[in-house]
């Protein structure tokens, strides 16, 4: 049998640049995983001591090592949802205006303004809320409302530092997220749909309300969830506004507490192992909730932009 000579195979040299950059890029997923692992390990003593009861416990008493997260979870969720209720109509209105192809000079100014709103540091919102917004809101919103509607339990008992005032500043802070993503989603609605509506004689409002907004619904929902994630994790401005009382308030005008605020206020003063572990477990709860919320939102927003890429 004749010996066969293997044909020389031209192999591409290994792409080392690809390997190196891929390794550097791994930093992002790696950090994310390590954060969660480190927080789970840090909260181990509290996890062992309280188990799932930690999530429904209502006391927070460091001297006797009794810890439950429910009031902080309640405050976090309540402040975020109220802020969304305030910010959502405004955010969608701004997004609709920004996505319009007309009035480009006014839109430029509005767009810049909203982006600057996102650039202002949290602590500056905090000091402004503490000395300006909260006293104003107490005098001109909380007291008049509770005077007239105080017979409704959750609109009574006005206080300067309250769940409501924290929600107000949160609404301002999440507005840019809500607006920027909603605007992109509205812009991604295929132009043909809008042109069809206009050709059929629909007015500007009929086109917007019956055609564009329904088409962008899933994406706007994604933007809303993403803004919810931002609101849940916001720390400093909320800590300076919410009043920091560890209880489940009966009224939105009463003080409350959030997961992030408890950590911010107590962590450096926590001396017992269990206290520190309980605070880290609050952080764990917070990061797991925001992870899930952000993932859902990102998948929603992405599925929308992929669809439009296929149809446009």
């Amino acid at each position: 049998m004749a010996e066969t000579v293997a044909a020389p195979v031209l192999r591409r040299p290994p792409d080392r640049f690809r390997t190196v950059t891929a390794l550097v890029a791994a930093a992002a997923p790696l950090v994310l995983v390590v954060i969660v692992v480190v927080l789970i390990r840090g909260s181990a003593p509290a996890l062992h001591q309280f188990g799932l009861g930690f999530l429904v416990g209502q006391t927070w008493n460091p001297p006797i090592d009794s810890f439950g997260a429910l009031p902080a979870i309640f405050g976090t969720v309540a402040s975020s949802l109220i802020s969304l209720a305030i910010a959502l109509p405004v955010g969608i209105a701004v997004a609709v205006i920004l996505a319009e192809p007309s009035h480009s000079s006014i839109r430029g100014v509005i767009g810049t303004g909203i982006e600057l709103l996102a650039a202002i540091p949290s602590v500056v919102y905090g000091i402004w809320t503490l000395y300006v917004l909260s006293p104003w809101s107490y005098e001109h919103l909380e007291v008049p409302i509770s005077d007239r509607l105080g017979f409704i339990g959750w609109l009574s008992q006005p206080a300067t530092r309250s769940l409501f005032n924290a929600s107000l500043v949160l609404a301002v802070m999440i507005l840019p997220t809500l607006t920027a993503i909603s605007r992109d989603v509205i812009r991604a609605v295929p132009r043909g749909m809008k042109e069809n509506a206009v050709a059929l004689g629909a007015t500007w409002w009929e086109t917007t309300w019956h055609v564009i907004l329904p088409a962008a619904r899933a994406g706007i929902f994604g933007a809303t969830i993403l803004a919810l994630g931002r609101a849940l994790g916001e720390t400093i401005a909320v800590t300076m506004a919410i009043g920091n009382r560890y209880w489940i308030p009966q009224s939105i005008f009463e003080p409350a507490y959030t997961l992030a605020s408890v950590i911010a206020n107590e962590f450096t003063e926590a001396t017992s192992t269990l206290h520190q572990a309980a605070l880290i477990e609050l952080g764990l709860v917070l990061i797991l909730v925001t992870l899930v919320v952000n993932l859902v939102a990102l998948l929603l927003v992405r599925s929308v932009s992929r669809e439009t890429r296929l149809t446009a």
Partner: protein, 284 residues
């Protein structure tokens, strides 16, 4: 009034409502800026405010030099850690973006952008502060770097992906290896966008308070040693604003003004750089 004109009036009215809500959205921006300037300017007009450090309440001539220097150190160290890594990561996503691994990196970066900064502070405390038993500037800058990294990655990816494929192909056709094409051809062409992203991440890091609370911790005195507790502008605003002393509250407003000028200044510069990128992309 006939049906058609009623419909057009309705439409016009709703357009008005939308513009009204938009105006309403911009009111807080004006108010925050106005009060920061009005309350922050009186303390910020004195030169001692920038050249002196903390003085006890009642002693005149107090300043925030320790905070300004501290913020520059913290953000500087964080930039050294996050910006080169972020740029390389962004290049990977743009150049090899179809790989499955790239999808995971992209998702993780987007999730990391939305991660509560206080949780990042807890994380860095657990890995760098607790084992070494003291607060440090280094740990603060690591926390800031974690927050900066995903911003740099995603903005770099965005601006590198804008560079036309022709440039890439001509480089490869001339026999350049991939790394030289990416770093010496594509990156310089994408520079304005990359710089914009880096500047935005610096602005974000300069304003962060929560991740510094239990890492850099704060320091009333000027410290140039990154292995010890260090002050930062946002920490100053937070700590002084919550004291009952009028003079410290005034300094908090002054520090807030310095912070806002710094952060908005960086933002405006980055916008200007980005506009040049768009002009440049038009020529390519």
């Amino acid at each position: 009034m006939n049906r058609t004109s009623r419909r057009s009036y309705t439409s016009f009215a709703w357009l008005g409502v939308m513009y009204l809500l938009t105006a309403f959205a911009l009111i807080p921006l004006g108010l925050v800026l106005w009060f920061t300037v009005a309350k922050g300017l009186p303390p910020a007009l004195h030169i001692e405010f920038y050249t002196n450090v903390f003085r006890p309440v009642g002693v005149p001539g107090a300043g925030i030099k320790q905070a300004i220097v501290g913020t520059l150190m913290l953000v500087g160290m964080a930039s050294v850690m996050a910006i080169p890594a972020g740029i390389l990561g962004g290049i990977y996503l743009a150049e090899y973006g179809l790989a499955r691994w790239a999808g995971w990196v992209r998702l993780a970066s987007d999730v990391l952008v939305g991660t509560p900064s206080i949780a990042v502070g807890l994380f860095v405390y657990a890995i760098l502060v607790a084992p070494l038993h003291h607060f440090s500037g280094v740990s603060g800058s690591v926390a800031l770097a974690v927050l900066m990294l995903p911003i740099v990655v995603r903005t770099t990816e965005g601006s590198v992906a804008l560079i036309p494929n022709g440039l890439r192909e001509s480089g490869l056709a001339l026999g350049l290896p991939r790394w030289r094409v990416s770093l010496q051809l594509i990156l310089p062409a994408a520079a304005p966008g990359v710089i914009t992203g880096a500047l935005l991440s610096v602005a974000r890091a300069s304003g962060e308070t929560a991740p510094l609370l239990f890492t850099a911790f704060g320091n009333q005195l000027l410290s140039l040693d990154p292995t010890h507790a260090i002050q930062a502008l946002p920490l100053t605003v937070y700590q002084y604003a919550l004291t009952p002393y009028k003079s410290l509250q005034d300094q908090a407003w002054g520090a807030a003004l310095v912070l806002v000028v710094m952060v908005l200044g960086i933002n405006l510069v980055s916008r200007w750089v980005l506009r040049r990128q768009i002009a440049l992309a038009g020529q390519l």
